[in-house]
């Protein structure tokens, strides 16, 4: 199943945690280099992917994340350095815009717990990570330390108040959001820029990162001097990496080499499948939380695709 984001180049996709068939996709015109951005809400129907809603922002949108507590709320971030909160059941304008970053905001993440303060973190090219209260529309804290642009910030699904950030300085940093002054731990990979990282959903100490040196690396926080597993195979920089929400060892990654790859990190030959169905860089990727084995991805070829790879059907 596919949907075409006419004249808009995809940057990120996310499945709704509430509706098995609802997808949000953020895009920008001109490959995100200049011009406006669009948030698409797309529903998977028997006849294909159908547009539910289209929301416009003046600047390219780089990332999106659904709220955990309200099925209509979604947060996005954009090239003008701002963060938008949208209520898709209401107007065509965001219900809140928060601005504190000095440069493009590349990643946002809504806390993954329902039983925790509902906060959002963001990573920006201004090298900082920020913590936001989306209800009040204010920035609560800033986490500085990365020595190059920050590409990713993601809440731990296990540790309270903790999140990880990945950046162009080749490090992953771990923070307790209550102590902005001090980074808890640094993994220094140093073999390229780390473009994305994701926590394992079953093992609280495992995180996976992907880098411009084309390689995925799995880290165990208890002994993070060396990666526990490295996954070579992509031919160019790897843009996103995600752990499966359903199987501990399953990982999906997408890359500048136009492919999406699926991995089982527990196997001696971990690469399960190479999916090459895009004609431009694949930029966004996510697992469906409700339908095990289903994936959505988006690319600069204006296609959003939902599919169930062979290797995940067991």
């Amino acid at each position: 199943m596919q949907y075409i984001t006419q004249n808009r180049h995809g940057y990120s996709v996310d499945f709704s945690p509430y509706f098995a068939d609802r997808i949000a996709c953020v895009t920008g015109e001109n490959f995100g280099i200049a011009g406006p951005g669009t948030l698409y809400i797309i529903d998977a129907q028997p006849q294909g992917l159908l547009l539910n809603k289209r929301l416009e922002w003046k600047s390219s949108l780089f990332d999106c994340c659904w709220s955990e507590i309200n099925d209509n709320i979604i947060v996005t971030c954009s090239g003008d350095g701002s963060i938008q909160i949208w209520n898709i059941s209401a107007d065509n304008a965001p219900v809140a815009v928060m601005k504190d970053h000095l440069q493009e905001v590349y990643c946002v993440d809504w806390t993954k717990r329902r039983n925790a303060p509902q906060h959002v973190i963001s990573a920006s090219w201004d090298k900082d990570i920020k913590l936001w209260d989306p209800q009040k529309g204010i920035c609560l804290a800033t986490y500085s330390g990365h020595e190059n642009v920050a590409y990713c910030a993601t809440w731990s699904p296990h540790y309270l108040a903790m999140f990880a950030s990945a950046a162009g300085d080749g490090t992953i940093r771990f923070w307790d959001c209550r102590t902005p002054s001090r980074c808890l731990k640094i993994i220094n990979d140093g073999r390229g820029e780390i473009l994305h990282c994701d926590w394992n959903k079953y093992n609280k100490d495992v995180i996976i990162s992907c880098s411009t040196d084309n390689i995925l690396r799995c880290w165990d926080l208890r002994n993070a001097k060396i990666p526990t597993i490295t996954l070579p195979g992509h031919q160019y920089a790897v843009k996103k990496v995600k752990f499966s929400p359903h199987k501990e060892n399953i990982v999906a990654s997408c890359s500048y080499d136009l492919t999406v790859r699926l991995w089982n990190i527990a196997l001696p030959n971990p690469m399960l499948e190479v999916i090459e169905h895009h004609s431009e860089f694949v930029t966004g990727l996510n697992f469906n939380l409700h339908r095990p084995g289903q994936i959505v991805d988006c690319a600069w070829d204006e296609h959003v695709k939902v599919y169930s790879p062979m290797s995940l059907q067991m």
């Binding site: 204010i138 642009v149 540790y159 209550r178 820029e193 920089a237 990190i265």
Partner: protein, 645 residues
């Protein structure tokens, strides 16, 4: 004295393990080489987007566009060094040399000449902290060269970045600098450059001028970067790529970016229409937002502290029991400067002569018992230099570097010129990638050796003053100490001094000259074939230069001489991993762990071995045994792999 100098598989495997990538083929294979460059360039699409967005938007957040632009390109430069050159040439000393002395041209040539993966540094030269040090170096570079006006080096860097891949006509640093200065003089009158630098950001007029200058410049840079990118987009994969097409148009000027719009080079009219249309569009702009939310935001902001307090409370209120604390945080501490950490409940505390008993245990190859005995001894006699020394060397032999460093440092505090301790400490520092410290310790060894004392002319900086700010060894420092050691070796050409050869071998490991290092150790084992430590060092050095098969032979010799040599066993296991013999690797690690265990608890087992074992298990598809590893359940693992205790 037990050079690990090893080859954690993590580094090896990225190239050697899966067969996709054969490091040595790279330099001979232009296609692979081109691809490797392209991949670097591709990660700079990220940068390209940044640069282009910047031009498009002008002000996103108030930073001076000049600074933003140059910072992007600075990142671009440092990124290459991190992302491309670093994994290969990466020798820290080399890096520093590049920063301090190399012209950009040299850099490019150097890169092209050298296969980045040929001299892959071993994991022992960990890159932790290198980034910080690079910053410091950059900083010190600026301090040393105040004449360079800000911006010049940045532009040079950009120039270099472009040149690097595109081979566009190269402008020499000097020329560029002159050109820059000429303009600068005309703009600033007679101010000396340094002063100009100070004024540079404050003086609006200059800032505007500078911004204009660089902007004009950077538009070309953008074009160049885009040209570079499109030129190398020859991978058939991207033949139909609209993105590369887009980039190509930007590079030819067919498209340009103006006021956050991509415009046709000739379509001014269209642009205007488009802008008008945009204004009419239903895009809610930020100002409206700000107004709408002003009230609440203001209210909240005035209570910033209160908000923060509430935040803390809010988080605290969540059930702690369901949220584990971070157990690995304790790892986060200064491991090198700390006092020696004694094990609790030492069963030998009341032993009448723990030192000699320890030596006996050492002879029998029971390292963990020896450790407890030596500890008991130094606890009783804190001034017992020799016991501290043996404690340190035994820890190293037992693959426990931090403890080894603490003990050896204590030993040297008591007797600064103690040669065996200096030699051992230099190896431990090398393993922990503390180059500068290792280098100084080696020099101190020579200085304190009566045979070679006269060779050391410059006796400053001999003391091991703990953690100096940097652990990088400069090329000069290396050359200096290398020449002194070579001189020492030449003093008695017939009568080989094994220690000098061994130190020289360590030194070449520091500098990444593994061939030379291996030669030194070969000479050493020829003269002293019954020394297991020398065989282990030879093995580790061979492994570092990707000769795992030869390394295994050397490790086996070491183990036949000293079956209880845990470090050699561990190294052997790692070489097995590199040769994909996972099952054998696992067995070696288990044997090592069993040796480390003693009858008085398992406190001398080393985490290094456990974590490498875990990795080997995962390669072997035995992740079901992870739990046993995490619980340090040796019995289960022994049973699984038929390792008899």
């Amino acid at each position: 004295m037990y050079l690990r100098l090893s080859e954690y598989p993590s580094r090896g495997q990225t190239t050697g393990m899966d067969g996709h990538f054969h490091p040595r083929q790279q330099i001979n294979d232009p296609l692979t080489f081109a691809v490797s460059i392209l991949s670097t360039k591709l990660d700079s699409t990220e940068k390209l987007i940044m640069a282009m967005r910047d031009l498009a938007e002008g002000e996103c957040g108030g930073a001076n566009p000049l600074m933003k632009m140059t910072s992007h390109f600075m990142q671009d430069k440092s990124m290459r060094q991190e992302g491309l050159i670093r994994p290969g040439v990466v020798h820290p000393a080399e890096l520093e040399r590049q920063f301090l002395h190399a012209s950009e041209h040299e850099l490019v040539n150097e890169y092209l000449r050298q296969d980045p993966r040929l001299h892959r540094p071993p994991e022992t030269f960990r890159m932790e902290g290198l980034l910080k040090e690079m910053k410091e170096i950059e900083h010190s570079h600026q301090m040393r060269a105040p004449i360079t006006a800000p911006g010049v080096s940045d532009i040079v860097a950009t120039e270099w970045a472009n040149d690097f891949v595109a081979n566009t006509p190269f402008m020499h640093e000097q020329e560029l600098e002159e050109q820059y200065r000429a303009i600068q003089n005309s703009a600033t009158g007679d101010h000396p450059p340094t002063q100009w630098a100070d004024e540079y950001l404050q003086d609006t007029e200059h800032a505007i001028w500078a911004a204009e200058y660089v902007e004009a410049n950077s538009k070309n840079e953008l074009k160049d970067t885009a040209a570079a990118l499109s030129e190398i987009s020859n991978d058939p994969k991207f033949a139909d790529s609209k993105f590369f097409d887009f980039v190509k148009k930007l590079s030819t000027g067919e498209l340009t970016i103006k006021d956050d719009q991509v415009v046709d080079g000739a379509a001014e009219q269209w642009e205007k229409e488009f802008t008008a249309e945009q204004q009419g569009a239903e895009v809610m702009n930020e100002e409206q937002w700000v107004n709408q939310f002003d009230e609440e935001t203001l209210r909240s902001k005035s209570k910033d502290n209160e908000v923060w307090d509430n935040l803390q409370k809010e988080w605290e209120s969540y059930d702690r029991d369901n949220h584990p604390e971070h157990p690995w945080l304790s790892e986060y501490e200064d491991t090198y400067n700390k006092e020696y950490d004694f094990k609790e409940d030492n069963p030998f505390e009341n032993h009448p002569d723990p030192f000699n008993e320890g030596l006996q245990m050492l002879k029998e190859g029971n390292l963990s018992m020896a450790l407890l005995l030596f500890e008991a001894d130094v606890k009783k006699n804190p001034e017992h230099v020799e016991a501290w020394q043996y404690l340190g060397t035994t820890h190293a032999e037992n693959e426990q570097e931090n403890q080894a460093v603490s003990a050896l440092r204590r030993c040297l505090q008591l007797e600064p010129g103690r040669l065996p301790a200096l030699q051992a400490l230099s190896v431990s520092y090398t393993n922990e990638s503390l180059q500068l410290q290792a280098c100084r310790t080696l020099k101190s060894w020579l200085y304190n050796n009566p045979k070679y004392h006269h060779l050391v002319r410059d006796s400053t900086q001999l003391s091991d003053d703990g953690m100096v700010t940097s652990s990088l060894m400069t090329r000069e420092q290396f050359r200096e100490i290398e020449s002194v050691f070579l001189e020492a070796a030449r003093l008695s050409p017939e009568n080989v001094d094994v220690d000098v050869q061994s130190c020289l071998g360590v030194l070449y490991n520091l500098s990444g000259d593994y061939e030379k290092a291996a030669d030194c150790f070969r000479v050493a084992v020829d003269s002293k074939p019954d020394d297991p430590e020398l065989w282990n060092k030879l093995g580790a050095t061979l492994a570092n230069s990707n000769k795992s098969e030869e390394a295994i032979l050397a490790y086996h010799t070491a183990l036949s001489l000293s079956p209880g040599y845990v470090r050699a066993r561990y190294n052997l296991g790692i070489s097995c991993i590199n040769l994909k013999a996972y099952r054998e690797a696992i067995e070696h690690f288990l044997i090592a762990l069993n040796m480390q265990r003693n009858d008085y608890g398992s406190t001398t087992m080393s985490d290094n071995i456990w974590s490498t074992l875990r990795m080997a298990l995962s390669y072997n598809g035995k992740s079901d045994l992870f739990q046993a590893v995490d619980e340090r359940d040796l019995a289960t693992l022994n049973k699984e792999f038929d390792v008899s205790v």
